[in-house]
C-alpha cells in the first residue's frame, strides 16, 4: 500500500482546529511519514488551482474545519467532496456551526450594519472596481450552516477545538490505515459528567450562579452549586477539562447521540433540578423565579450549536418572501 493522501482545510474558522493537529507533538512526524499532505493552507503552499487539478477521489481523507459562512466556503467544500474519499467534519464549527453560528441571530444586513455602518453604498461588494480593476469577494451568505448541510460528511470529530487525545486517536488510526467505519464520531459515547472529577449529588438548585459571581467549591458538581454546566447534555472525550479548571462546561463537543437538541435537553435537565422545597403553586412560582435568573439562554445553552439546533436562528420573514 502506498502512502495515504490527506488534506486539511479551513472554511469559516479561527485556526484553532489547525493548531489542535500540532498538539499531538511528535506524533505529527508519524503522520508525515505515513501520509502525503495534499492540502493544508495554514501550513503548506497548496493553492486552489492545485486542488482543482487533483483527480476525483484522489485524496483519501480531508479534515475539514470551519463552518459555511461565504459562497467560497461552500464552493470549496463541494470541490473537496469530489476530490476526497472520506470527509471529516473536524471541530465544532464544521460539526454544529460553532460559536460563530450565533451569527444566525441576525440577518446579513444587520451584521453588515453593525460592522460597516448604515450606508449600504459603503459596504464591501461582491463585485467592485478599484483603480479600474475588477475585484470580487465571495458572497457573505444569509445563514451560516455546518458542513453536513452542504455536502455529505463521513466522520465527525467534535470539540472546540478537538482535544489532544481524540486527535491522537484519529492520527493513530490513520497511520495504521485502520480508520473505523464511516459514520464514526470520534468522542466518548457518554456525557461529560461520566468523566468529570467533581462529586455530583443532584442537589436541588435554589439559585442560578454566573461564573464571576462566586468562587465555586473545587470538589462539588458545578450544577449542584447553581452554575449552568452543560455537562449532562454534552459529549465527553475531553476529560472535563473546563470543570476541572473551575469553569462550567460550555457544550463545545455537541450533544450525545441520544439528544436531538442540546440546549433544550440541558434546559430540561435544569428545570427538573431547580426548587426551593416549597410545595403546590408556590413551588411553580419559586421554580420560575429561579429560572428567570438565566440572563442569556441562547448564549448559554446554544453557545456552539445554534446553527444545528431545532431553533436554527432567528426567523426572517423578509428572507422567506424574497426567495
Amino acid at each position: 500500500m502506498g502512502k495515504a493522501k490527506i488534506g486539511v482545510y479551513w472554511a469559516a474558522s479561527c485556526g484553532g482546529c489547525d493548531c489542535s493537529l500540532l498538539e499531538v507533538n511528535e506524533q505529527i512526524l508519524d503522520v508525515a511519514a505515513a501520509a502525503d499532505i495534499l492540502l493544508w493552507p495554514c501550513a503548506t503552499d497548496v493553492k486552489y488551482a492545485d486542488l482543482e487539478s487533483y483527480k476525483n477521489g484522489e485524496i483519501d481523507i480531508v479534515l475539514f474545519n470551519g463552518a459555511i459562512r461565504t459562497a467560497e466556503n461552500r464552493e470549496i467544500a463541494k470541490l473537496i467532496r469530489t476530490k476526497t474519499k472520506a470527509l471529516v467534519a473536524f471541530g465544532s464549527c464544521a460539526h454544529t456551526g460553532g460559536v460563530i453560528g450565533l451569527a444566525n441571530l441576525a440577518t446579513r444586513d444587520e451584521i453588515f450594519t453593525t460592522v460597516y455602518g448604515e450606508q449600504r453604498d459603503g459596504w464591501p461588494q461582491v463585485s467592485a472596481s478599484q483603480n479600474g480593476y475588477d475585484l470580487h469577494l465571495p458572497e457573505f451568505l444569509e445563514t451560516l450552516t455546518p458542513l453536513a448541510e452542504v455536502v455529505e460528511v463521513d466522520y465527525v470529530v467534535p470539540g472546540c477545538p478537538p482535544p489532544r487525545e481524540i486527535v491522537s486517536q484519529l492520527f493513530s488510526a490513520l497511520v495504521a490505515g485502520e480508520l473505523p467505519p464511516m459514520g464514526t464520531v470520534f468522542a466518548s459515547q457518554k456525557n461529560l459528567c461520566e468523566e468529570c472529577p467533581r462529586e455530583r449529588e443532584q442537589e436541588k438548585i435554589t439559585r442560578i450562579l454566573r461564573p464571576h459571581q462566586q468562587e465555586p467549591d473545587p470538589e462539588k458538581c458545578l450544577l449542584d452549586q447553581g452554575f449552568v454546566c452543560m455537562g449532562p447534555a454534552t459529549r465527553g472525550g475531553c476529560g472535563a477539562v473546563c470543570p476541572a479548571a473551575n469553569m462550567p462546561c460550555t457544550g463545545c463537543a455537541g450533544p450525545t447521540e441520544s439528544i436531538t437538541d442540546q440546549g433544550a435537553a440541558m434546559l430540561n435537565t435544569l428545570a427538573s433540578l431547580v426548587g426551593t422545597g416549597e410545595e403546590g403553586e408556590d413551588q411553580l412560582d419559586a421554580e420560575d423565579a429561579i429560572l428567570a435568573q438565566l440572563d442569556d439562554i441562547i448564549g448559554t445553552f446554544y453557545r456552539f450549536g445554534l446553527a444545528t439546533s431545532l431553533l436554527r436562528g432567528r426567523y426572517h420573514e423578509q428572507n422567506r418572501t424574497a426567495r
Binding site: 484553532g16 512526524l29 493553492k47 488551482a49 459603503g122 448564549g299
Partner: protein, 488 residues
C-alpha cells in the same frame, strides 16, 4: 478601462492564519500595474456578542483566533476587569503573566519554524511541496526539529496548566483567575521555562547562521523600496520597556520621535478607519495624521504594530538576554527605528527570547502561589482592555448593562492595524520582483513573503471597531474616481 494585459491571482495565500488573496495586474511590459490584498472573510463577532453575558466574552472572543486565543482571552478579561472596576489581585495577575508570556513564546516559535521561516530555512524558490515545517526539519535535521516540536509543546503545556486548556483557555474571569496551579505544576513550568530560554537563544543562532547569511534575506532586509517608514505602535511599561500584557500605548513617528503615549482608555481616540468595497477588512489609520492613501512616511497615517513596531516603539526590551540581542539588532541596521519590513523576523525572535525570560522570572515569583485569585467586583459598566497580541496591539472595548450583559462591543485587532502596511508591502514587493511577465511560483512566493513578515491573522483582521467610531467611506465610479464621500 482595460489597462491590464494580464491578471494573476494568488489564491489562497498560504502559511498564515485565515483567508486572503492577492490580485496582481500586469501591464503590457509584463511589470506590475497594480496589486490588491483582499480578505474574503467575515464572521460578525461584533454583532452576535451583543446580549451575551460579559464573563462569557473571554471564551467567545478567543474563537476569533485559534492561533492567538490567549490574546483575545486576556484582552477580554482585562476589559472585564475594567468594566467591573476590579484589578486582579497580584496572584491572579502573575498567573496571567506566566501564561501570556508562554503564549508569546509559543506563537513566535510557530511563525519562525512553521509559517514564515520556511521561506528562508528551506528557501524562497524551493519546490512548494517542501516549503513547510517538514521541509524545515529536513534542512535543520531531526534533532533540532524535535526540539522545535518539544518547545512549542512546552509553551502550550504552560498555557494548559495555567489556563485549563492548551487552545481556547478558560481561566480568565473578571477581576481574576478561576484557578491557581499546584507546586508540582509550578515546578514543571519552571523547568520548561528554563529550557525555553535556551531554545530561544538557539533559535536566534539559527537566525544569524541561516537568515543573516542568506543572500535573499539580506537583500530584502536592506532594499530601500521594501522598507516602510511608518508610525509604530506598542505597549510599554513605566520605564518605556516592552510589555506584552499591560502598560501604556506608545506611538513613535517614522523618525523615532514620540507621537503619543496614552493609557488604554484613550487609545481609541487616536484611530480612525475606512471601508473599501473590495475587501471585508476595515483599514485604520492615525486620525490626526490623516489618510493619504496606501503610502508610508510622516504625512501618512499608516502605522504598524507587531514585533518590529514594538521594538521601534520601546526604549528598551526589559529583559537582560533579549536586551543584548536587541542591541545587536539595532547595530546591524545602524540604529532605530528600523523600517526594513523583513526585520520583523528578527524582532519576533528577540521577543520570543524576552517572553521566555519573563515566563522564567514570573514562575519563581512567591506571590504566584498564595493569596486570593479574585478581586471583589464593582457594578458593571464600560471598559477598555489593551494587550499586545503576538501580532500587535489588541484592543477590546465593552459596555455592560446593569445585569452584566454586553450592550456594545468594539474590537480593534492586531492584524487590522497592519492592513494598510501589508497592502503596501505586497505592492512594493510585486513591483520589485514581477518583471517581463515572469510570474512563476518562486516569484509569486516572493510576493507572499512580503505579507508573511507580518505574520498576519486574517480571521482576526475582519473585526474592527464599529458603532461609535468615525467612519469615512469613498463611493467610487467604475473609473475609480471618488463620486461621494460619506463621513460619520
Amino acid at each position: 478601462m482595460s489597462k491590464t494585459v494580464r491578471h494573476v491571482s494568488i489564491d489562497p495565500i498560504t502559511r498564515l492564519e485565515g483567508h486572503g488573496r492577492i490580485e496582481l495586474f500586469l501591464d503590457e511590459s509584463g511589470g506590475l500595474a497594480d496589486a490588491f490584498f483582499q480578505i474574503p472573510e467575515l464572521r460578525g463577532f461584533e454583532r452576535f456578542c451583543l446580549g451575551r453575558q460579559g464573563e462569557d466574552m473571554p471564551q467567545i472572543t478567543e474563537r476569533i483566533c485559534g492561533v492567538c486565543p490567549e490574546a483575545h482571552h486576556f484582552a477580554s478579561t482585562k476589559t472585564l476587569d475594567a468594566c467591573y472596576a476590579a484589578p486582579p489581585p497580584p496572584r491572579a495577575k502573575k498567573l496571567r503573566e506566566v501564561l501570556y508570556n508562554a503564549y508569546i513564546f509559543s506563537d513566535h516559535l510557530l511563525h519562525f519554524y512553521y509559517l514564515g521561516g520556511p521561506d528562508f530555512l528551506v528557501g524562497p524558490y524551493a519546490p512548494p511541496q517542501e516549503r513547510n515545517i517538514l521541509g524545515v526539519i529536513g534542512k535543520v535535521g531531526l534533532e533540532l526539529g524535535k526540539e522545535v516540536i518539544k518547545h512549542r509543546g512546552y509553551g502550550q503545556r504552560i498555557i494548559e496548566l495555567v489556563g485549563g486548556r492548551p487552545i481556547h483557555p478558560v481561566s480568565g474571569i473578571p477581576g481574576g483567575q478561576s484557578k491557581g496551579i499546584t507546586e508540582e505544576e509550578r515546578t514543571e513550568i519552571e523547568t520548561m521555562a528554563a529550557s525555553a530560554v535556551e531554545f530561544a537563544q538557539a533559535t536566534l543562532d539559527v537566525f544569524k547562521g541561516k537568515l543573516l547569511e542568506d543572500e535573499t534575506f539580506v537583500r530584502f532586509a536592506s532594499q530601500e523600496s521594501l522598507a516602510l517608514p511608518t508610525y509604530y505602535m506598542g505597549l510599554v511599561d513605566k520605564k518605556g520597556a516592552v510589555d506584552f500584557y499591560d502598560g501604556d500605548v506608545r506611538i513613535v513617528a517614522p523618525d523615532g520621535s514620540e507621537y503619543a503615549q496614552v493609557g488604554a482608555s484613550d487609545v481609541l481616540a487616536l484611530i480612525e478607519e475606512r471601508t473599501e468595497p473590495w475587501t471585508y477588512v476595515k483599514i485604520p489609520y492615525l486620525k490626526d495624521v490623516g489618510w493619504k492613501g496606501f503610502t508610508a512616511g510622516p504625512d501618512s497615517g499608516v502605522y504598524r504594530v507587531g514585533p518590529l513596531a514594538r521594538l521601534n516603539a520601546c526604549k528598551e526590551i526589559g529583559t537582560p538576554l533579549a536586551q543584548t540581542e536587541y542591541e545587536v539588532f539595532l547595530d546591524y541596521f545602524g540604529g532605530g527605528p528600523v523600517h526594513a519590513t523583513f526585520a520583523y523576523h528578527w524582532a519576533r525572535l528577540i521577543e520570543m527570547l524576552s517572553a521566555a525570560e519573563r515566563t522564567a522570572a514570573f514562575i519563581t515569583d512567591p506571590t504566584l502561589m498564595e493569596g486570593p485569585l479574585r478581586a471583589p467586583l464593582g457594578e458593571p459598566g464600560e471598559g477598555v482592555g489593551v494587550i499586545e497580541a503576538a501580532r500587535g496591539t489588541l484592543i477590546h472595548h465593552y459596555g455592560l448593562d446593569d445585569r452584566g450583559l454586553i450592550k456594545s462591543v468594539n474590537l480593534v485587532v492586531a492584524t487590522t492595524h497592519n492592513v494598510a502596511a501589508i497592502s503596501l508591502s505586497i505592492k512594493e514587493m510585486a513591483k520589485a520582483v514581477v518583471k517581463d511577465g515572469n510570474v512563476d511560483q518562486g516569484i509569486l512566493n516572493l510576493v507572499e513573503m512580503s505579507f508573511r513578515n507580518y505574520d498576519p491573522c486574517l480571521a482576526c483582521a475582519t473585526h474592527a471597531l464599529p458603532g461609535q467610531m468615525p467612519l469615512i467611506v469613498d463611493v467610487r465610479g467604475t473609473d475609480g474616481a471618488v463620486r461621494q464621500r460619506i463621513e460619520r
